[in-house]
Point group: C2
Chain length 360, copies 2
DNA sequence: TTGAAAGCGCTAACAC
DNA sequence: GTGTTAGCGCTTTCAA
């Protein structure tokens, strides 16, 4: 009376059905038929039957035996952030094409969570790690390196550790944005960033500071505390803008701060760029389509994904060779995408410029 | 001369170091010390030593033995789409808290890719599946069901298959949007959707059709072919709008079509809502902050994530019991979030309304 | 050419 | 209370 649950086919089922040994089936399945001089006829029979019954080798058993899982652990800050989800999607695609799968998790910049995630990846024996490191996880990263598991860190790096990394030159990006604003005639630039000590945030701040110093201009910096709720951040930025009306332009150090900033500017009833010019980090549909369109320091997401995965796969290949691989550290240039939000121009010109962009 | 690679600690190392048996260590580690009447002293010694050397059981071996991986396979359409990345982030968090990990992949609505992904999840013996089904993967889904592996489908469902699912009432959403537009005095509504036959798209279209029929109004529907590049879609929508100037409002069936639509409307130099009102599916920073703010039919992302994971975990728990679990099919209501893009109002009022929303 | 068999690291009967 | 041991499903060496 009991439902017969269809049992999963095993390699032994294949072997016994075909009257050959398990080893033969395994060899054929792993493309080692030729080198083991298994007859073409047998190989063909095996392949045909495997196809017929839809046999899928148990990767758990395979991994346990071979020590390879063909899984890459991807740790990002927040998969719901368009920057990370875009990079993740690109990484996923490239990894998939080369036979690797991704397990991903978001840390939300919580070091405890990051540690848990890395620990879980270790337990599952991922073949390699791709990590956007939260602060305070140096120890876990060091452990991965000591195990000699391939690792590439990106978006930011850990100064104390000589890991492979792929980051974007934030100092250059902010510096270019500041220069652009000054060229446009804005003279009092503010910089809104987070209180984080992460390298990418520090670099972006440094670019601003350097530009201000070069021009002998005062620095007006707002560091928003991390981990607060949206409303708090918005009112925080709003107060900052209101208290610094001498500023005629703001650079935001990351996409979500800009989004909160747009809210704050809207509530204050200020017009962009006439009352306040702005530049954001990271491109985003919102910035492209907003009226006025927002000038951004765009990070090269494709290049980030490509470099990250290339370096990791290279290490994965070399793993057996145990060659003393030099550490790969890549610094990619960002691109300043100038739109209306940072242009000093006569009223009405904005609309015309918009049309031009559309026509191009 | 060779670098001594620190060997991973094994359960046998723990046992021999402590002078107890492997079984004792295993039992303690799995919280079965009490029921196996292992002395508290021994249990404490084991735990202390495990802690000290940072022993991490090999989950591959454990899974191979127990048949449980504590991994959930999540298949979405596109992780870079904010709707999916938001739901994924929420699902991930809840799953993590309950001891499950996520492997995710994007199908990009390609059935071949979806099949590959599901096949890969089968090989890796995920404990359960969460799937946004691409068209044409009924067979793979049926296979999962036959294996009796827990499965929840979401965002859309497969009409031929009696799976658990969690979807949003798209007909109701579009119907409400249409009624709202008509109440505002717009009288000629267009609907822009994809050529996809997926249930959620059909439901959204049905809601529009029904509303039009109820009011004896003509239907003006544009079905954009799926899988085209951005520029083609934009010009396609642009032509549609230009050829249908009698329409004074458009409802877009999904977030990315709206984004393309905003581009097209911008290029045509039309003002929203005066020249053309609009409503989009899915909420998004862009829609909230755009000027004018865009009215949306918001999907309840938290509720989707919660229902999806609750149903799956329930099944996971029942798995051993093999109780004849009834299929869970959940239909969640969307919410119409009215903003300026759909309001018929005197010029200048929009700005005021904006401030009101901010104040609330 | 093919088959037998020894593990990969862990769990959980079942002895003692 | 604790130890022994038979697998989970697969790969791969070595013998036939």
């Amino acid at each position: 009376m009991s439902e017969k649950v269809k049992k999963r086919t095993l390699i032994s089922d294949i072997a016994s059905h075909l009257g050959v040994s398990i080893a033969t089936v395994s060899l054929v399945l792993n493309g080692k038929a030729k080198q083991s001089r298994i007859s073409d006829a047998v190989a063909a029979r095996v392949l045909a039957y495997v196809q017929e019954v839809g046999y899928k080798p148990n990767q758990l058993a395979k991994s346990l035996r071979t020590g390879k899982t063909h899984v890459i652990g991807l740790v990002v800050e927040d998969i719901a952030n368009p920057f990370f989800s875009t990079v993740a999607a690109l990484i996923e695609r490239q990894a998939f094409e080369r036979g690797y799968r991704i397990i991903y998790c978001s840390t939300n910049n919580d070091p405890a969570r990051a540690r848990e995630l890395i620990s879980m990846f270790q337990e599952r024996h991922v073949d390699g790690y791709l990590v956007v490191p939260a602060e305070g996880i140096e120890e876990q990263i060091a452990e991965i390196m000591q195990e000699k598991t391939p690792l590439v860190v990106f978006d930011r790096y850990l100064p104390e550790l000589a890991t492979n990394y792929v980051v974007v030159d934030g100092a250059q990006g902010t510096h270019a944005a500041a220069r652009h604003l000054l060229e446009q005639g804005f003279s009092n630039l503010a910089f809104v960033t987070t209180s984080s000590a992460q390298t990418q945030m520090q670099a972006r701040l440094d670019g601003y500071r350097q530009a201000m110093q070069e021009h002998g201009l005062p620095e007006t910096v707002k560091q928003v505390a991390v981990g607060q709720d949206a409303e708090t951040v918005i009112t925080d930025i709003l107060s900052f803008i209101r208290d610094n009306r001498q500023c005629d332009a703001i650079i935001f150090s990351t996409n979500y701060l800009s989004i909160y900033g747009l809210e704050a500017i809207g509530r204050l009833g200020l017009r962009i760029p006439d009352d306040l010019a702005m530049v954001s980090y990271d491109d985003h549909d919102l910035f492209r389509l907003y009226t006025p369109a927002i000038t951004v320091i765009a990070q090269p997401v494709e290049a980030i994904a490509k470099n990250v995965i290339d370096i990791l796969l290279e290490e994965l290949k070399n793993c057996a060779g145990e060659a003393p691989r030099p550490v790969q550290q890549v610094l990619l240039p960002p691109t300043l995408v100038v739109r209306q939000s940072s242009l000093r121009q006569p009223a009405g010109a904005a609309r015309k410029a918009r049309k031009q962009e559309a026509a191009s």
